[in-house]
Symmetry: D2
Subunit: 356 residues, 4 copies
Amino acid sequence: MSDNSYGKLFRVTTWGESHGPSIGCVVDGVPPKLALTEADLQIYLDQRKPGQNRFTTQRQEPDQVMIMSGVFEGLTTGTPISLIIENKDHRSKDYGDIKDKFRPGHADFTYTAKYGIRDYRGGGRSSARETAMRVAAGGIARKILGDEIKITGALVQIGDKKINPENWDDAEISKNPFWCPDAEMAAQWETYLDKIRKAGSSIGAVIEIRASGVAAGLGAPIYGKLDGDLAAAMMSINAVKGVEIGAGFSSAELTGEQNADEIRMQDGKPHFTSNHAGGILGGISSGQDIVVRFAVKPTSSILTLRQTIDTSGNETEILTKGRHDPCVGIRAVPIGEAMMACVLADHIMRHRAQCG
Amino acid sequence: MSDNSYGKLFRVTTWGESHGPSIGCVVDGVPPKLALTEADLQIYLDQRKPGQNRFTTQRQEPDQVMIMSGVFEGLTTGTPISLIIENKDHRSKDYGDIKDKFRPGHADFTYTAKYGIRDYRGGGRSSARETAMRVAAGGIARKILGDEIKITGALVQIGDKKINPENWDDAEISKNPFWCPDAEMAAQWETYLDKIRKAGSSIGAVIEIRASGVAAGLGAPIYGKLDGDLAAAMMSINAVKGVEIGAGFSSAELTGEQNADEIRMQDGKPHFTSNHAGGILGGISSGQDIVVRFAVKPTSSILTLRQTIDTSGNETEILTKGRHDPCVGIRAVPIGEAMMACVLADHIMRHRAQCG
Amino acid sequence: MSDNSYGKLFRVTTWGESHGPSIGCVVDGVPPKLALTEADLQIYLDQRKPGQNRFTTQRQEPDQVMIMSGVFEGLTTGTPISLIIENKDHRSKDYGDIKDKFRPGHADFTYTAKYGIRDYRGGGRSSARETAMRVAAGGIARKILGDEIKITGALVQIGDKKINPENWDDAEISKNPFWCPDAEMAAQWETYLDKIRKAGSSIGAVIEIRASGVAAGLGAPIYGKLDGDLAAAMMSINAVKGVEIGAGFSSAELTGEQNADEIRMQDGKPHFTSNHAGGILGGISSGQDIVVRFAVKPTSSILTLRQTIDTSGNETEILTKGRHDPCVGIRAVPIGEAMMACVLADHIMRHRAQCG
Amino acid sequence: MSDNSYGKLFRVTTWGESHGPSIGCVVDGVPPKLALTEADLQIYLDQRKPGQNRFTTQRQEPDQVMIMSGVFEGLTTGTPISLIIENKDHRSKDYGDIKDKFRPGHADFTYTAKYGIRDYRGGGRSSARETAMRVAAGGIARKILGDEIKITGALVQIGDKKINPENWDDAEISKNPFWCPDAEMAAQWETYLDKIRKAGSSIGAVIEIRASGVAAGLGAPIYGKLDGDLAAAMMSINAVKGVEIGAGFSSAELTGEQNADEIRMQDGKPHFTSNHAGGILGGISSGQDIVVRFAVKPTSSILTLRQTIDTSGNETEILTKGRHDPCVGIRAVPIGEAMMACVLADHIMRHRAQCG
C-alpha cells in the first residue's frame, strides 16, 4: 500500500527529493523479453528535461537515466527494473527564506502539518523533479503498449488563450517550445509568455492527452475504471487541479441526444459517429481514441511578494526567487503522456489476467 | 486487488446487479466500538432513493438496508460489516431490445467487448443501482469522521444554468428536489427540467461537494494524494466525465499572483485569505474546506431513436423506454457526499497509521 | 487492504460471524463465461459440513450456498460473485460463561485485547464457521484450474499416529470419516478418536494437500512466491500452527546431495527423479506435484476444567461445553484443498498477466 | 501489487541481482522524525555479511549501505527511504556451465519456465544476495518497534543435531559463528560442519526467532493474521521449506488439555502458564513471546556431480563450484530477525490505524 507507488500489475514506485543525491524508481511486473535500453527511456526524459528554452526552469539537469536491474543482455527479465537519475544541479545555496517560511501555493505548509518535518531544499519530495521518474517509467510502459497504440500530448490552453481545434496538426507539436498543435496559437503564446516571464509572473494551462489504437475492452468496473485510474494518475501530477474525459465538464451542458455517440458499422467494424465519451463507457475502452484533459495551475513561485507566515506562526512575506517555469503546464505534456502510457500498460495486463 | 473495492484501510467492496435478487457491500477496516444501526445508514439511502419526485426515475425501491455482520449489540466490532439491500422493483419485462442492441452512451458495447457476455437486464452491473451501496458505506464512514467534519453537497449547474454563488444558502439545499443551494435557480430549474422530462430528453449537471472541519495533514504524497483519491472516487461514479479541485479548470486562466492563497494568522491559527487550492496542497489537506466539483453527463436513456448496432453487427436503431432520470446529476449529490466521506475516513486512518 | 480478503487477482473477501444471521463472501476477478451453478459449490460444502458423523461437531447446518450476483444464465460475467449461507443452527442458549471468561486456546482474550469488544457467541468472527466461505470460493477457483489440475487432500496424522505413506490409496480417502488414504490407519484412528471423544478431550492432526497437473512457471519471486502464498493461506486456517512444503522440516536433516531433485528427460519432457522441493523452486512451480502439509492443534474446547481469568481480571475456571470436534483437523481437509485451489487460481491469472 | 514488495503500511520493495551493479530497496510508509543513520542499518548488515568465517560463503562484500532519500538532517521525513548497496565482488568469471545447465535445487529451471529468460550470473534475482535488503529494511523497522520489543534469533538445529533448550543462553548466541544459544552444541557443530564443508557437501538447519515485549492486540483476522504474515515472510526467505508457530508441528501430537495455555493473574496482569500458542491466538498477539521457527534446506550448490538437463533439453551433469555456504541456515538468522521486525512494524501501524 505504498503511497509512492502506482499501478496494480505494472507497478511503479518512485523515491527521491529535489536536492538529494539522486532520484529513482522501481518498475515491477514488466513482462519478460522486451528489448529495453537506457536510450529508449532517454528519448522521453529529454522531452521533459528542464532548461531547454527560456520558457522552462533554468535548472541544468542532464537527467541521464541508468538501468540498475531487471534487464539482461538487452532484454527485460520479468524482475524489478530499478532506474536512477543523479541530481547534478542542486546548487548549494542559502535556503534561509524557504526554510522558515511557508511559500503560498506550495506544499510547505501541508508537509509540515502532516509530518512535523520537511526537506525544504527545493521543495524536497514535493518537487516536480519526481516526475522525471514517471517519464522514465512511461518509456517502459510504451514497450508493453507496442506500436499499435499511439499517445499524443499537447498544450491546448495557456491563460485564456485556447488553441483552435480546427488548426490541430500533430506535426506542429514538436516544432515549438510549447507542444502546441496550432501554429498560429504557438506564435501568440510566445509573445504572451515572454511578457509573463519578464514580469516574474506565471500562468496556468490545459493539456490534452490522446491515445489512439487502444482496443475495446480495457478497464475494469467499478473501482478499477479506466477513467477513474486516469483521473487519479493525472491528478497526482504536481499542480494539476482538474481532469476530464471526452466532453468532460462541457457534457453538463449537453442533452442526451447531443451526447450519445451513435454507432454504425464501417469496414465491418463498429464505428462511433462522435466521441463525447472520450473513448470510455462504463469505465471500459470502446476502441475510440481515449481523450483526457487536465488543468495545471500557475507556478506558485513568482517574483512578487506574497503574504505568509513563518514556521513559528508569525506573519511575514515571501518572494520566491529561483529557477522556475513561467508556465509549468508546458513540461507537464510529456508527463501526462507517460501517465497515460503507464495506466494503459497496467490495464492491458489486468485485462489479460482476467479475460485471457 | 479487487476492482470492485475502494479505499485502502477503510475498504469497501460492492457487489450486485440492477435486476439480481439483491445488492450489497462489505466494509472492512472499520474501527471498533462505533455506535451503528441500520437507521444511521437509512437516512442517507433515503436521500438517494429513486422515485421520490418527478425528476428522478420512477423505479420504486424502498432501499431498506440490512446489517448482516460486524455489529454486535449496537457497536461495531472491528470485523467486516456486510450490508445488503434487496431489489424489489426489478419488474419482469421484455428486455428484447436492450438484449440484442447496444444502447449509445451506455456500457452495453464495452461490457460485451470486454467480457463477451453481459447481464443486460437494467444495465446489470453497470447500473447506477450500485451507488446505493456507496451511500450506505458513506454512512459508516461518517461515523469515523465524527461531528467535526461536515460534508455538504449541492447541485450547482444543470445544462447551462448555473447557480449564483452569492445566493448559496445551505439551508436551501433540502428544500427543493434538486439539492440546489440557490432558491432562485431552483425555481428556474423546475420549469426547465419539466420541459426536458416531457420531451423524453435529458441534460447534464455539475455537483459540488464541500468538507469543512478537516484538519490539516490528511493525504499522502505522491500517489496517495487526497486530491488524487478524490478524483478517482468521483470519476468512478456512473456518468461522471470530469472532476476538479478548488479553482479547478479555471486555474488555467489565473496568474501566480491571483492563484496563491496567502496565509495570515487568525485567532492564533493559520488562516488562508482565499481557497483556490480547494483545501489541498501537494496532495495534503491544509485545514481549509475541501472543495470538489464533478460533471455528470446527461442520462443516456432517452425517448428519441438513436442509431446503433446489434450484437451481431447489424446497423439498427434503439429507443430506450423505461424509468429514467431526466437529470441523473440530481441523485449524484448524496453519492458524491458519500464518496467524500469514504475518502476522508480512509485518509484519517492512513494518517493515524503513519503519523500517530 | 482488507484483512478479510485474500488473493491478488482471484480476490475473496469473507464476512460473518458464527451466530449472526448469515455468512458470506464476495469473489472478485473471476474470468467471464465459466459455467457455474450453486450445485458446483455445494459438492465441496457438503464435504466440510458439520454433523456428518460422530467425529465432527454436532451443529446441524445445511450450509446451502446461494449465488447472489456475478452469474447470468449459468455463466460467470466477470463481475463480483456474492455467495451467502444462512446460519440455521445458532441456538439461542445461555452464553453466560463464555461471555465473561476467556477460553484458553481460543481467540477470546486477544480479540478483546485488540478491539475492546467481541461477539462472544460461538466465537463470533473467530469461529471456524468462516471457513465454509473458503470452501465455496475454492469451488469457483477450481473452475479456473480446469480439469488438468487435480487437488487431493488427506489427513496423514492424528496425535502420534501417522499413516504409512506406502499404503496411500487415493480411492480410500472418501471411504472413511477421516479423509485417510491408509485404510489400516483409518481403522486405528476410529478406535483412538472414539476414546478421545468420550473423554471430552481432543487431539491435533496433520493434513497434506497435493496438486498435480500444475504447469511449470506459476508463482512470482520474491514476495509473491507460490510457497509464500500457500504458507499464508494455510496458516490463516483456524488452529493451524505450522506449514511445510515438500520435505519441509525434515529437509533440515538432509545433505545437499540427498535434497537435490535431479532432472532427467522422460517422454521428451523434463522429469525430476525426486520431489523434496514439493514442486516449488525459487517460489515458482516446477511442474511436479505441489505438496503442502500443515499441522492443526487440538480443539481448544474440551470437557475438562481449565484455569483462566474473566474479563474483569479475576482468576477463575472454565469448562467449554458445546458441540465440538474431537479433532478439528478432519474438517480442515476440504478447507486446505480450497485454499490450494484459490492460491493456484490466483497465480494462474497473475502469470497470464505478466507472461501472457 | 508488486511481487517484489512486502508489508502493507510498512512497505518494502527490493530490486537487484547477484551480479548487477548494485542491489537496493525502497521502504515506504515509515513514520516521520525517527532518528536514522546508515550506521544504524550497518550493524545488522554486518551480521549477515558473507565471508566472515569459514562456515559462510567466501564472497567478499562490504555490504556498505547508502541512504539515498527519505532522511533529512538525521531524521526520517515520512517519504520513501531508498537504500542501495553496491555489488563489489561479482567476479568476472566463466558462467558457461550454469548458463546452459539447470542446477538441481536452484531456481534456474523454474525461472526459465516462467520467463523464458534468466540472468544466470550467480543466480540473478533468485540469489540470496537479495536478503541483504531485508536486513537493511529490518533495521528501519526496529526503529518503529522501539526499545520495548526485543527480537532474538538463533540456530537451533543443524542436520539432526538439535540444541538442548535447557542450555539456551542468549549471551552465548553471538559468541560462536552459528548464532547458537547452546555452547555445548556449538562446539559439536563446529566439528560436524567442518566435515561437511571439506566434503563439499551441505546440510539443512532450523532457525528460531523470538520477539518479546510485543503488546497484546497486534494482528488482524482473518487474512491479515500475524501468524499468516509471519509464515509468508519466513517462507519467502531463500531455501526455507517450513514455518511453525509455538508448538508448531508438535501440536499435532498434543491433547486439548496439554495444548491449552492457561491464564492466571500475575502482578495485576494476565499471565499465561505456558506458550504452546507461540504468542498468537486467532491471528492476534497475546502479549506472550512470539515464537517462530523455520526450516532451511541444505545449500543446493555442492561439489558432487548431479544429474540434470541443459536448456536445450539434453541430459547432462553439473558440479557447482563457487563460493557457497555449507549451511545457509547460519546466515538466515539475521534475515529471520529482520523479517520478524518488518512484520511487527507493519502490524503496529495497522493496529494504530484501526484501533487508534
